[in-house]
Symmetry: C2
Subunit: 118 residues, 2 copies
DNA sequence: TACATTCTCAACCACTTGGTTGAAGAAGCG
DNA sequence: CGCTTCTTCAACCAAGTGGTTGAGAATGTA
């Protein structure tokens, strides 16, 4: 069950509620109650969403009286960006290299040539 | 059940096997059998992984005799990059001007189903 | 101390996910 | 046509997820 961090991060962001939380936390820190306000789910559910974000390293918590303010950790985004950039660039280059037809299905005489670059 | 695409994309990439497939597909197209080779799981499982990637818009399939070559669609990465860049930058700026006002929630009450989008 | 506020833990439940095996569809070859 | 190759569909199962409610921990306040 100990997934790698990248998996945890992607998994955490696969939920719209959690993405929305991240979006709001990018603007400012917030407490659990504040974060929960807009949603129609229980405080406990929000708390658990935050635990998922925390496990992914996307947020950290502190203590402020009874409150547990949540803070977005931007560094983790770099991890994702790094992964993304690498493969996006590779695919992009490859796309640029072959000047034909991918994705277009309207060819009447489909004679798929090899698209391997020389 | 019809999740938004961003959720499907993040969810698809939350699996290490699928991320590895994407990585390999960034180099070149491949058939199901070719993709399956390195992994110790059934061909059917690989086929289903590819369906997940396909539903997320990350790959497309064509037909080549009995084979169904898989092609990586780089455009979807832009979607993620856009999302990432936006909030990473916001958090970065905020980090830079580290005034950190807690408890200062603005009036934004977003619908959890929708991402923060302009 | 007693009480209110804020948040988390625990148990439960419906649904999804990622794997399995067996059967079947689709295309080429003898 | 029957047989082989490549791939998907279907049914099943264990484990995970996201919600619920109820209890309780942690802290500040009267």
């Amino acid at each position: 069950m100990p997934q790698d961090q990248l998996s945890r991060v992607f998994s955490a962001l696969a939920d719209p509620t959690r993405r929305d939380m991240v979006a709001r936390l990018a603007a400012t820190d917030a407490t659990v109650g504040e974060l929960a306000a807009p949603y129609d789910i229980s405080l406990q559910a929000v708390s658990r969403h935050l635990r998922v974000l925390g496990d992914a390293g996307l947020v950290t918590r502190t203590r402020q009286a009874q409150r547990r303010p949540v803070h977005l950790e931007a560094e983790v985004f770099d991890l994702m960006t790094k992964w993304l950039e690498r493969y996006r660039r590779e695919a992009d280059e490859r796309y640029r290299r072959l000047d034909a037809v991918l994705g277009e299905m309207d060819d009447a005489t489909p004679d798929p040539q090899e698209d391997h670059a020389p």
